[in-house]
């Protein structure tokens, strides 16, 4: 090892190649091969040394110790904000003036061609053995790509924000503690105010309530649950109470956010305003209520017309007529409750026997599951059950305390199988004339619904089997 190398803090291992040894032993050739621009100025700022990379960056080769390239060989220097920097104010000039290092100074280097490079500059003073300033060395590197990446990230964030802002749905984010970090315009509009970022916790609403009006503390809101339990939550529906007292029903969709290393960093929540949906639902209910009102008034009008027409007659038909009308009205009620989409067979059975009182009611045994029927099937079967019941009250098992009715039903694949069996009533004989009930059972079950009825007048009582096709 040479004595000059001993003084240097740079450590050099013995090397086999002579060419490589020449390079590593000579500071000048080492500097020449660095991938960053390096140049040295003397005390007056005149360039006394530079490397190849510096020439690449400057876009020209300075003349050594030449007044025209004092402090720097760039064509011009600027701040990142594009404000010009005079050469005698450059980092190199500063270091030569005050002897203090300049670290990681970002600036723009302009070439003679007008091309601009973003560079990161580090300048260190050079001292002699007595500690007097003799010059300075500048290392500078092109950070354009890095800067571009940073600005792309900034732009990406800006676009993200703009996308969130443009969404017509309320969106906000929180940090891992649930403190608000962002909300969009739609969120502020839903809340009716702009909550303070970094302070408000869990949700930006002024107050939250459950749909029934019970206040919901912020730390129990769905977003708080999602953050505390680190899982996405959907709902439940809640109501945002605004500072002005107005209320907005909404459905929350809070979701935790995890960083690329899996660390929990916060959460995002989307609030879907349900006002319009509620209004449409109320409107539909209003229309169905109105339809029901019209139909019921029409049924009452028909009831009145029948009563006026039959007034004074001793015909017991008015009771029978009222019974049939009420049966029709009851199944109508059930269909109305279900938006005229379906009616439950078990409920139809219950409604059929509900008007029976005392012993007649306790003489009825029913058993079977809930089963949805289409409106047409529901209307037909309700009328048939009414006829069977009123017949049993007049002539059959329900006309005597000893009699009973068993009504069983089950679902077999795509058919509902209903069995009506009377027992213990007066001895039954085949009627001479086919009445309304018999005809209704045959016509509506067989022809209207495409089912298969079996009606028997056995000595022990009426027995009726009906198979009703169910919608697929």
């Amino acid at each position: 090892m040479s004595s000059s190398a001993d003084k240097s803090p740079t450590r050099v291992a013995p090397v086999a190649s002579l060419a490589l040894e020449r390079i590593v032993r000579s500071p000048a050739s080492l500097v020449e091969n660095l991938p960053i621009g390096v140049y040295t100025c003397d005390r007056d700022g005149l360039i006394v040394q530079f490397n190849r990379r510096a020439v690449d960056l400057w876009g020209r080769t300075p003349v050594l110790a030449d007044e025209r390239f004092r402090f720097d060989a760039a064509f011009a220097l600027q701040e990142p904000s594009r404000t010009p920097i005079a050469f005698d104010r450059s980092p190199m000039a500063q270091v030569l003036a005050d002897g203090q290092s300049v670290r990681d100074r970002e600036m723009i280097l302009l070439r003679e061609s007008g091309e601009a490079l973003t560079v990161l500059v580090n300048v260190d003073p050079l001292l002699d053995e007595q500690g007097s300033l003799v010059g300075a060395v500048s290392c500078f590197q092109d950070i354009g790509e890095l800067t571009q990446m940073k600005s792309q990230m900034r732009e990406g964030r800006r676009i993200g924000r703009r996308v969130m802002e443009a969404l017509p749905v309320a969106v906000y984010t929180t940090d891992a503690d649930g403190k608000l970090t962002y909300f969009n315009q739609a969120a502020a509009a839903l809340w009716g105010f702009a909550p303070p970022l970094g302070e408000q916790q869990w949700c930006g609403s002024w107050q939250i309530a459950l749909p029934d009006g019970t206040p919901l503390p912020h730390d129990q809101c769905p977003m708080a649950v999602a953050i505390q339990e680190r899982r996405a939550v959907v709902g439940p529906e809640a109501v945002a109470v605004r500072p002005d007292g107005t209320r907005v029903p909404f459905m929350p969709y809070p979701t935790p956010i995890f960083g690329s290393d899996g660390e929990f960093i916060g959460a995002v929540n989307m609030l879907v305003d349900l006002t319009e949906q509620k209004r449409a639902g109320a409107q539909q209910r209003g229309l169905i209520d109105e339809l029901n009102h019209r139909v019921k008034n029409t049924l009452a009008t028909i009831q009145s017309l029948a009563a006026q027409t039959m007034r004074g007659s001793t015909n017991p038909g008015d009771k029978t007529f009222e019974g049939r009308l009420m049966a029709l009205s009851r199944v109508h009620d059930q269909l109305t409750r279900n938006a005229w989409e379906w009616a439950d067979f078990a409920t139809i059975v219950h409604d059929t026997f509900a008007p029976l009182r005392g012993s007649a009611n306790s003489a009825v045994q029913v058993s079977g599951p809930s089963q949805r029927l289409k409106p047409q099937s529901a209307l037909a079967i309700a009328m048939v059950l009414h006829e069977l019941t009123s017949n049993a009250q007049k002539y059959g098992a329900l006309s005597t305390p000893a009699g009973s009715v068993a009504l069983d039903w089950r679902v077999d694949g795509t058919r509902l199988i209903v069995e009506w069996r009377e027992q213990g009533g007066p001895a039954v004989t085949m009627p001479h004339k086919r009445g309304f009930g018999t005809r209704l059972i045959e016509r509506s079950i067989a022809h209207e619904l495409g089912g298969r009825p079996l009606l028997e007048f056995t000595p022990s009582g009426v027995h009726c089997m009906m198979e009703i096709p169910l919608p697929g």
Binding site: D289, N292, H293, R294, V295, K296, N297, L299, A300, T301, I302, Q303, S304, L305, A307, Q308, R311, E322, L325, M326, S329, D333, T336, R337, P355
Partner: protein, 127 residues
């Protein structure tokens, strides 16, 4: 014996106001009330007419159709309640179509089952 038969004298001597906008339906109500013994039966088809009837003479009992051709009967109910008079609502809507304020009141469904009507009037008179 059915409820309707048991109610033969339920309204004996009582004055009843029927508020119903559809004439044919009001005939039925008047007949039914008459069969239950009501002596003095008056009829009104609108809220305004009903209020005039009440001003003239307060009825012992009233039957109020909820929807009078789009107009709600509630102002009449409020007047009767303030005066301590008894009344039942008649409606095709069912309870769900009624204002929550009157949820505790007796409601008779249209069309009218005689038994249900007697039960409702009995309940209203007991209130």
């Amino acid at each position: 014996m059915t409820e309707a038969d048991a109610g033969k004298h339920l309204l004996d001597g009582l004055s009843v106001l029927v508020v119903e906008d559809e004439a044919i339906i009001s005939f039925l109500l008047e007949d039914m009330l008459g069969e239950l013994g009501a002596a003095d039966i008056r009829h009104a088809g609108t809220v305004a007419a009903a209020l005039i009837c009440i001003d003239e003479r307060q009825p012992d009992l009233a039957m109020l159709d909820v929807n009078l051709g789009g107009e709600r009967v509630y102002p009449v109910a409020e007047r009767l309640e303030a005066a301590g008079a008894r009344f039942v609502f008649t409606t095709g809507y069912g309870k769900s179509g009624m204002d929550a304020r009157w949820a505790g009141k007796v409601v008779v469904q249209k069309p009218f089952a005689a038994d249900a009507m007697v039960a409702a009037l009995r309940a209203a008179l007991a209130q």
